[in-house]
Amino acid sequence: MKTLRGLAPFAVLVVAWEIVTRGGLVSALFLPPPLDVARTAWELARDGSLWVNLAASLGRVLLGVVTSVPLAVGLGVMVGLNRRVAPVVEPIVGFFNALSGIAWLPLAITWFGLGWTSVTFIMFNTIFFLVFFNTLVGVRSVPRTFENAVRTLGGSRRHVIFQVLIPGALPSIVAGIRLSIGFGWRALIAAEMIATSTGLGFMIFNAANFHQSDAILVGIITIGLLWLATDRLLLQPLERRTIERWGLVSSQS
């Protein structure tokens, strides 16, 4: 029932879209009717090109996550542990964070040429700095009291790291991962338009060259659904579970 009510607004939108396009208010060249878009989606799915592009995009996101997240978390914890290094490093990472994403593309193309290396470099950059930053901030924001309490009870440095600092930083780390994949997806779509010949970004940009609005809309809807699915089914539960696990739910939010 709840999902049904969630879908109702989209039904209204599609009906309005149908009326506007069938009524001839907008040329089909600019906005094809929903049924045409559905037909194009079916065709693209049947000849396999939609799946190829979808798999390419998903694979790139996955590659970006796998290469950058472990490194970012590891480095973030290491730097966060050092009270003298951390405040120096934080603004530097913050700057690269501000720069992350698509702005690296021209330099990436200069260094690695067009293709998957450049795209992976962009993804790595985007995800790495955000997760690094959030891990660092997370570790640093764990109150000293907890650490001192464990120490007083005879806990070693290892205890402090694995039972205080990392669990304490986890909500921030997971929030960073979720945010970074959001930024990563967006950077990927833009990078695919410029630097590759596969992927959903390429698919819609290429379609624009041929004025195939229906194929563009199929791509846009796929991109939106994919991100919503990743966020709803994977990232939000992960975030919620982390927060609940460590009892960090606040009464405010």
């Binding site: 969630g6 720069l99 698509i102 702005a103 021209p106 330099l107 940009f205 939106g224």
Partner: protein
Amino acid sequence: MVVTWIALLAAGLGAWSVAAATLPLPDYYLPPPTAVLAAFVDLTAKGILPTYVFASLRRILLAAALGLVVGVPAGLLLGMSRRVADFFYPLLNFFQSVSGIAWLPLMLVWFGFGERTILVAVNYTVLFPVIFNALLGVRSLPPLYANALRTLGAGRWRIVRDVVLPGALPSIATGMRLGLAYGWRALIAAEMLVGAHGLGFMIFNAQSFHLTARIMLGMGLIGLLWVVLDYFLLRPLEEATIARWGLVQR
């Protein structure tokens, strides 16, 4: 602290110079810092750089203004009624998930290669997270506060001013920050793809001519401008919510 940063910066520039001079790479792979400085002086003297910086800044500030003036009130208004909010929530959530850059190809078909396409893509990217988070901010307010005021005889306007607006502020600040962060990146990408002035256009165009020093200059400015934007526009907004309402948690 400042001394440490200056020392680090000097060390970084030194290492970069040494690497540029000694690494067996073609010159355009890694130009030395002096080349970037030369590019800065050259482009500033020609007046190209100020024009591009101004073009990019104007576009993002326009989107920020639209977000504040249209996005925030729209989100608040939609959030005021439970029914209306429930209807728009999934739609807004979907549209804020699709980045503006994904709409760019369709905008190209609609408006062609030009300023309008860039503006629509960037404003779209900024607007949806702002509306969505403003709506979310209103909806997540405990009804208790509004009821308390109503019991004491407050009118609708009074509730908006004293409960809804301050209560939604942290969420609005989040939306503005996220929207503009996405928007700034979408702007750079749109400028690359559409190619009409701006820093994104500058670095993308420089790549075709192997003018790597220009790319690095542009990247430095893109990062710097965001830091400035963050510091002068977004921080004050967030700090106003922390200081005044003590509601922001980090």
